[in-house]
Every structure is written in structure tokens, then in C-alpha cells.
């Protein structure tokens, strides 16, 4: 390799194109530095600095929406910038801001250090952004592992609670297992695509478009097929799709509530962004394999998530299993991606609606959680409407949106996904999904019923001591309002939905 080639490669390193990720990383380091420099009395303001910094980055991404790098590849083909990548950046920033706010609320109760929490959340958010824009398996793997290792620490963050540590261990083992499967799949794809005996072989088999060109030249290579299935199963773990959803109830229950929210929204959205990149670009010539695999996963995920949620009494397990079924609905749209242009917009809108509704529900959960964060039962919500009408109202709007009740954003999300599946002729899957929606209404309304129509069984733990600060109140009301407004008006997102 000569100097000119190296110079050519170095010229593609455009650091300005990834300024949001870089600034999040620097902000994360700055938080740690602030903790060393500032006197102990000022430490409680550091999480606020984290939130403010993220708001600045969010504003910057929105101002820089039409960045000159859109539609181009940088870092010698590691990253590909697109307006969809911009949308995912906004989504991840919104979720990391919400998680930092939840962390402020929740970690105070369990007296855990909060600066490190913000630090890891910021690093994970930056890695998620890179993951959503990766178009090379090296970038894909490194970003995915940064997210996963960050989550190992976050899930077991309350290290004094044995249940939290147990959840951390389960996430660790199953997460590493899925990473190993994914990695072996990448190794197979790289090896097959570089084989000099096959037509269209390429030395750059880890780049999405080169791999797609190779796969198009060899449409029925069994080893490549095996690699694709292994990679898809690794991603299925991150989004919690059947049969890799085993970890979800236990980990969601054991993790601190803000981390559960981050897992449910951020990790899932990152998994879907990565999956979309793979299905649309890298594995596009292998639809004969990808579509049946993902269709089976979608149907099984919807049915499992909804049926298993029916007899849950712990709300964290309940919301985890309902999240499994939401992953199933999103998979339905992923399956339709090749056939209709509506599907991609439907996925982004669904993710946004799911983010807002989930954080409304998690915000209420964080307020009501007692000293034992893992023990949040449906019974604790009995009579909530009389004790805390504001929290009960926000909870009803959030759960209604998750269930897909008509005027709310969640309904429109499901509607767009179903229209996309209809246009792609997946009638069988559509029938399963509609059955899933009907089942889900039962357990969501069980929760709402407990909050509105049941009398409190007795003085339950921490039930009377709940106070809602004005700041949290404003945020919760804003989330509920956004859920209602997005149901009627999709705003700039409508541009994607009309493609």
C-alpha cells in the first residue's frame, strides 16, 4: 500500500460529520472531570449539566438537519450519513435526555452515584448513533458492543441489590452469547464473500454494499445463508424478538427503572436501526431467506409477548413483555420494507410514538417506585386516580397509546405499520398482529383499571409519600400532550410517511 492510497483513505475521515457523537463523548468525559474539580457540595448539579449539554447537542442536530454529508460515506466506508440517521440521532438524544431525568428522580431514592450514570448513558447514546449510521461490519460490531457493555454496567448499577446484580448477570451471559453468534456470522460472511473460487468475490466483504453485490452474484450460497441467520439472531437478541426474548422479563424487573426505560426504548430503537441497515442494504439480495426468518420471528414475538404479559403482576415485567410485542409489530414493518416505501416511515413514526408513550409510563413508575425498585406490583397502583390524579391521567394516556387506542399516537403508529404490511401482502402476519392488539388491550386496561377503579387494599409501601415536583409534572404533561398531538398531526414525519 503506497502513500497516495493512505492519503486517499485519510481524506475520507470527516470528523465534522460526526460532531454530535464526538460532543456527546467529550461531554461524558467532562462530567467525570467536573466531579474531580468541583467541591463536593456542587456535585448535585452535574447531572443537570449533562441534561443541558444534551439539549444543546439536540438543538444543534435539528439546526444541522440538512448537513452537507447526507447521502455520503465517510471514514473509508465505515459510516453512511442519511436523513434517517439524523432522525435516529434525534430519537436517541430524546431518550438519553429522558433517561438522565429519570435517573435524577430514581437514583436519589436508592442513594447511588449519579455522575457515572450520566456518563455511561451519554457514551451509550453516542454509540447508538454510530450504530444507526454504520454501513460496515467493523463499525457495526464495535458500536453494538459499546452499547451492550455500557448496558451490562447500567443494568447492574444498584450493586447493593442482589436482584439487580442477578439481572445484570443474566443480561451479561445472554448478551455475550448473542454477540458471539453475531460475530461468527460476520466471520462466515466475510470468508465466503472473499473466496476466490466464487464469482463476484470481493476483498471488502465487510462493507454492506460490497457484500450485497457478492450476495447478488451468488443467490443461493448456503454458508452465506448461515452467516445471515447468525447475524440476524444476534440482532434479534437486542430487539428482544422471539426466540431471543428469554432475558427480557427478568432483566427488566431487576434493572433500575431508568435503565429499564433505556433498554425498552433506546436499545430497541438501536437494534431496529441496525436491522434496517442490514435488511435494506447488506442482505437485500437474500430476501428469499430474510423475509421468512423475520416473518416467523414477527408472528412468534407478537403472540409470545402478548400471551406472556396476560398473567404478570409486576409492572416492570409487564412493560417488558409488552415491549416484546411492540418489537413484533415493528418486525412486521421491517418485513414489508422491500415491498413498500411506507414501511420505513412507519418504523420511525412507531419508534417515536413508542418512545413518548413509554417515557410517560416510566415517568409515573419512577415516581411510584418504593425503596425496593424491583418490587413494583399492579396492586401498588390501586386508587392512584384519587391519590395522584395527574400521575393517573398521564399513565392512562401512555398506556392507551401503547395499547393503540384511536386518537393517540400509538394508534397511528400501529395503523401505518398495518397499512405497510397490507401493501406488502403479508395478510397472515396482519391477522396475527390484529389478534395481538386485541389481547394486549386486556392487560393494558387491567393496569388502567387498577389505577382508576380499584380502592387501595391498605396502606401499601410508599403509597402515600409520593410527591410530584413541578418540573417532573411539566415533563409528564408535555409527554402526554405530545402523545395526543402526534395522533392528529404527524408534522415533518409525514414527509416519510407519504413517500
Amino acid at each position: 500500500m503506497d502513500i497516495a492510497a493512505l492519503q486517499h483513505i485519510a481524506a475520507t475521515n470527516v470528523w465534522g460529520a460526526i460532531w454530535p457523537e464526538l460532543s456527546l463523548g467529550c461531554l461524558a468525559l467532562a462530567l467525570l472531570a467536573l466531579e474531580i474539580v468541583l467541591p463536593r457540595a456542587a456535585h448535585r448539579h452535574i447531572p443537570a449539566v449533562a441534561v443541558l449539554g444534551q439539549l444543546v447537542v439536540l438543538a444543534g442536530v435539528l439546526l444541522d438537519w440538512h448537513s452537507p454529508w447526507l447521502g455520503r460515506e465517510t471514514f473509508s466506508g465505515l459510516l453512511r450519513h442519511s436523513s434517517e440517521g439524523q432522525a435516529m440521532r434525534v430519537l436517541f438524544l430524546l431518550s438519553s435526555i429522558a433517561v438522565c431525568l429519570l435517573g435524577r428522580l430514581n437514583l436519589q431514592k436508592s442513594a447511588m452515584p449519579r455522575v457515572e450514570f450520566s456518563h455511561i448513558v451519554l457514551v451509550v447514546a453516542a454509540a447508538m448513533m454510530l450504530l444507526a449510521q454504520s454501513c460496515h461490519f467493523v463499525m457495526f460490531f464495535v458500536a453494538l458492543e459499546t452499547v451492550t457493555v455500557g448496558f451490562y454496567i447500567l443494568v447492574s448499577y444498584c450493586r447493593t441489590n442482589p436482584l439487580t446484580l442477578e439481572a445484570g448477570l443474566k443480561y451479561l451471559i445472554l448478551g455475550s452469547l448473542s454477540s458471539a453468534l453475531l460475530l461468527f456470522g460476520i466471520a462466515l460472511l466475510y470468508g465466503v464473500s472473499g473466496n476466490p473460487l466464487l464469482s463476484g468475490h470481493t476483498p471488502a466483504g465487510m462493507h454492506y454494499s460490497d457484500l450485497a453485490a457478492f450476495l447478488a452474484a451468488n443467490p443461493h450460497q448456503w454458508l452465506a445463508g448461515l452467516g445471515i441467520v447468525l447475524v440476524l439472531s444476534g440482532v434479534a437478541f437486542k430487539i428482544g424478538a422471539f426466540p431471543f426474548q428469554i432475558w427480557i422479563p427478568d432483566v427488566y424487573q431487576g434493572a433500575p427503572t431508568p435503565v429499564t426505560a433505556f433498554l425498552a426504548v433506546g436499545s430497541k430503537a438501536a437494534g431496529f436501526a441496525a436491522l434496517l441497515g442490514l435488511v435494506r442494504y447488506a442482505f437485500a439480495p437474500y430476501t428469499w431467506l430474510v423475509i421468512p426468518v423475520l416473518s416467523f420471528m414477527a408472528a412468534a414475538t407478537i403472540l409470545f409477548g402478548n400471551l406472556a404479559a396476560l398473567n404478570q403482576h409486576n409492572v416492570k415485567r409487564l412493560i417488558g413483555l409488552s415491549g416484546v410485542s411492540h418489537a413484533g409489530f415493528l418486525l412486521l414493518a421491517v418485513v414489508s420494507v422491500g415491498a413498500t416505501s411506507l414501511a420505513v416511515g412507519a418504523i420511525y413514526f412507531y419508534l417515536l410514538a413508542y418512545l413518548i408513550a413509554s417515557f410517560a409510563v416510566f415517568g409515573v413508575m419512577a415516581h411510584l417506585a418504593g425503596s425496593d425498585d424491583t418490587n413494583q406490583q399492579l396492586d401498588h397502583y390501586a386508587g392512584l386516580a384519587r391519590r395522584q390524579p395527574l400521575l393517573a391521567g398521564v399513565l392512562a394516556v401512555g398506556l392507551g397509546s401503547l395499547a393503540g387506542i384511536p386518537p393517540l399516537a400509538g394508534f397511528m403508529g400501529k395503523f401505518f405499520v398495518f397499512v405497510a404490511a397490507f401493501q406488502a401482502d403479508h395478510y397472515g402476519l396482519l391477522a396475527v398482529a390484529i389478534a395481538g392488539v386485541v389481547i394486549s388491550i386486556y392487560y393494558y386496561f387491567g393496569w388502567i383499571k387498577a389505577a382508576f377503579f380499584e380502592a387501595p387494599a391498605g396502606p401499601s409501601e410508599g403509597a402515600s409519600a409520593v410527591t410530584v415536583g413541578w418540573f417532573s409534572g411539566v415533563i409528564l404533561v408535555a409527554l402526554a400532550l405530545a402523545t395526543v398531538v402526534l395522533g392528529f398531526y404527524q408534522g415533518p414525519l409525514g414527509r416519510w410517511l407519504t413517500w
Binding site: 442482589p162 448477570l169 451479561l172 451471559i173 454477540s179 458471539a180 466475510y190 468475490h201
Partner: protein, 102 residues
């Protein structure tokens, strides 16, 4: 003496991967499970190096450095969790770690 062909390397790598996978699924001690997980990563690493050597492209070799770094980070976080859990529960057998139920 077996000639060092690509098939030998890939076969060995697949064997290591299978041993690791079976170990994760069948063993009950967390530390042994964790060792088996590392074995699976090493199997992929071997496959990458072999493919890189026989297909004449450097990408696989470079990827191995990233995998090693990531695996080190994973072990650092993972062993910390296992140690913290052992201090609380005094066991690393997965059968006895069943506190999370309903």
C-alpha cells in the same frame, strides 16, 4: 501431518465454536459459562485470521484487533458483575440464582 489448508482452520474454528456454545447451554457454573463465551469469541477470531490469510485481504486481521479490545472490555465489566454477585449471594451456580420471579 495435516496440511494447513483453509478447511482445517475453519473446521477447527467451527469445532471451538460448537464446544463453546454447548458449554454455555449445558454448564451450570457462571465462571465456566463465561469461559465458554470467550471460547466462542476466540473461534470467530481464528476464522477471521484464517479467511484473511487465505483470501488475501487485510480487513479480517484488522477486525481481530477490535474484537480483542471489545472482548477485554466485556470481561472487565462481566467479571466485576460476577464478583459483586458472589459477594452478595455466595454462589455462582445459575440454578441458585432465581430470585427474579413475578
Amino acid at each position: 501431518m495435516i496440511p494447513a489448508t483453509l478447511n482445517v482452520y475453519v473446521g477447527l474454528s467451527a469445532l471451538l465454536f460448537a464446544v463453546g456454545l454447548l458449554g454455555v447451554l449445558l454448564r451450570r457454573n457462571t465462571l465456566v459459562i463465561y469461559m465458554c463465551l470467550e471460547l466462542m469469541l476466540v473461534a470467530s477470531t481464528l476464522a477471521f485470521v484464517a479467511f484473511s490469510r487465505f483470501n488475501g485481504s487485510m480487513d479480517g486481521n484488522v477486525f481481530v484487533f477490535f474484537i480483542l479490545t471489545v472482548a477485554a472490555a466485556e470481561v472487565a465489566a462481566g467479571l466485576a458483575i460476577i464478583v459483586a454477585l458472589f459477594r452478595k449471594r455466595l454462589t455462582v451456580q445459575v440454578d441458585q440464582l432465581d430470585g427474579l420471579k413475578h
